[in-house]
Symmetry: C3
Subunit: 156 residues, 3 copies
């Protein structure tokens, strides 16, 4: 494939963050390939090669299921998320996939409270070009703190 | 017009942040067109279509007036600002204007205190090319928390 | 020299952040020229032209010495760092060097604690092209708060 340039990669991450922060959760699975892997995993487990993840989803169906849970069944106090995404690092290619990593920070704002650091870590992604544009074939969200303020509801 | 590329857009936001964080407030209006709109508005109001804004300025004259207030008349404890700007999202064009949105985080440091999260949200901007380079015809700073630690003095 | 474009500059900062955050400290000096200057300095001192810096290292040898200290002799509780780097600002050129500045935020996560704002400020860098790629001939880390939560151990 034609490897995407930095402009397209920036656009992908910026759109991804906007989708989540604007709470358009139904659009979120569209950023992934049909056979994708999405995992949110503590750094300690990831570094040690341990498989235990906080969230582990397979395929667009798994993501849609999660969205249904988040929007319809999980009982939680609502909060805003705000993604600050650092400069992305293109590590190379693996077959059809571009290997991209970038640090992220998610801030959380609860109603009538100050904004606060919620979750920070590193996206470890495999990005592929499809007929519908760039998609994540894999997105690992490897976060630094095992201690999460309350629970992690929305996708990271 | 020739649409600016990502390199020029990055340069614009990076220069904007530097101007504010270095407290060169007199240069701040130069980032705007003469008939600009600048608003700092809580997300809740923005999402509900309510007009009430924390700061609402029109035209470069309005901005210069605000700078005069900030530097000469408002009584406040000084603090440093530090803007961390996320990857920008080019949403499209509207006539002469480029529609660009990006998340931001402003950290605040008061004398003899730790740096802290001050304000986070989303810039919703209209950028136009002028003879003097790219300028903001509109900048909305839509912030997540209605609770602001003390008051918001300097531009965001 | 051929001036590097924004794509190469982004790659440099992204790789730099990854190196530190993954604690590959032995690779850290490789981002610098042999006769480099690396300083971590409070904003107040920097703005006043005062030379006193929190960390001041000269040459790759000075950096390797620091790495030895960090990894082998300094007694400290381990913590994770996470760099969020804002959009970089290319200020111009000075002879062979490209002058680049960018805001940064470093988050810290101690074991069994929440992630927190650790250090924020501005990189003021001189970047040169070498046979081994882009390197920092100078990196000043000008940070906003003189108050650092505990001590600053790892490079910023």
């Amino acid at each position: 494939m034609n490897m995407p340039g930095i402009e397209q990669i920036i656009a992908l991450y910026a759109s991804y963050a906007a989708c989540l922060d604007e709470q358009r959760f139904n659009d979120w699975p569209d950023f992934f390939t049909s056979d994708c892997v999405y995992r949110v995993i503590p750094r300690e487990n990831h570094d040690a090669g341990l498989p235990l993840a906080t969230i582990s989803l397979s395929g667009v169906g798994g993501l849609r299921d999660r969205v249904y849970g988040v929007t319809s069944t999980l009982f939680h106090a609502p909060y805003y998320q705000r993604h600050i995404i650092s400069l992305p690092c293109v590590k190379g290619a693996d077959g059809e996939a571009l290997l991209v990593e970038t640090n992220y920070l998610v801030l959380r704002t609860k109603r009538d409270q100050l904004s606060e650091v919620f979750n920070t870590g590193r996206y470890i992604d495999r990005i592929v070009m499809t007929d519908a544009g760039l998609k994540f074939a894999q997105k690992l969200c490897v976060f630094d703190s095992e201690l999460i303020p309350n629970s992690l509801i929305y996708p990271i």
